[in-house]
Amino acid sequence: MRTVTFSNAEVAERVNADFVAAWSNRAPDFHNDDDGQERRIFEKSPDSYATKNICTFFLTPGGEVVHYVAGYSSPALFLGDLQLVLAARRTAFDESFSLKSDGLATLHSLHAERAKSDAWTAEGSISYGDLTHRHTDECRKKHHYEAKYRRELHQHWSTVAALPTLEKVRFDYLYGSSFTEECDGATPVTGRSLTGG
């Protein structure tokens, strides 16, 4: 995420303008400075890799989760997530960021709409360091699992009975691939795969 998406100028501009950003390492003292795995992910899954290894949560200032997405998302996909959260901010919450009386229903509708749209269309090219991937019809066919993850994730959010707190889902979320770099000292993630991956 940080080497591609959070380094993307359009994503950074939107995040800095409309969000307050923070990060946390769930394995203190661990840091992988080998980019081999990321390069492999980029070569095989340049648009999305919904691994449980990492997760980006979108919260209210009070710590309620409005949306999350596991793993890596390309800038184009991630901009869609940002837009969804901003739409929720405008329509489901009041000025003080409290959920309106019909706010949960509004949030359900936003997610249900996303679940119906077929996740995304991979177009153009995307870069990672010295690598550039240009989408073709063939690589679009490989998006089945990633699209399935996003579709079912939005379906899940379209039926939640209440907004969960970060504490409730921080280490218990829905993901696609079970790949993780968990090691001694890491807080393990539970939850389940939506793709059987």
Binding site: S7, A22, D33, E38, F57, F58, P61, E182
Partner: protein
């Protein structure tokens, strides 16, 4: 002269390699594999997003400005080079 220079270079390289391998913040794998050379960062690397120091700090500013929080949880550190 060249011989002494080569020995000095060798000693410096060994020392640097040893220090790198002992630094737990640069482990490349949970199993403690030997650290690999750091990849060369490229222009714009993690330069765009302004990160608050902590989630608590983010909550305070978000409440003040009425903005949602983006909280990225990873296995690794955002303020170091690499992946």
């Amino acid at each position: 002269m060249i011989y002494l220079s080569s020995i000095t270079t060798f000693i410096v390289l060994v020392a640097a390699s040893s220090l790198h391998a002992q630094d737990p913040s640069t482990r490349c794998a949970p199993s403690g594999q030997a650290a690999k050379p750091k990849p060369k960062p490229w222009a714009g690397y993690n330069q765009g997003v302004r990160w608050e120091k902590s989630l608590d700090e983010a909550k305070k500013r978000a409440a003040k400005e009425g903005k949602p929080i983006l909280f990225h949880q990873l296995v690794g550190a955002m303020d170091k080079e690499g992946c």
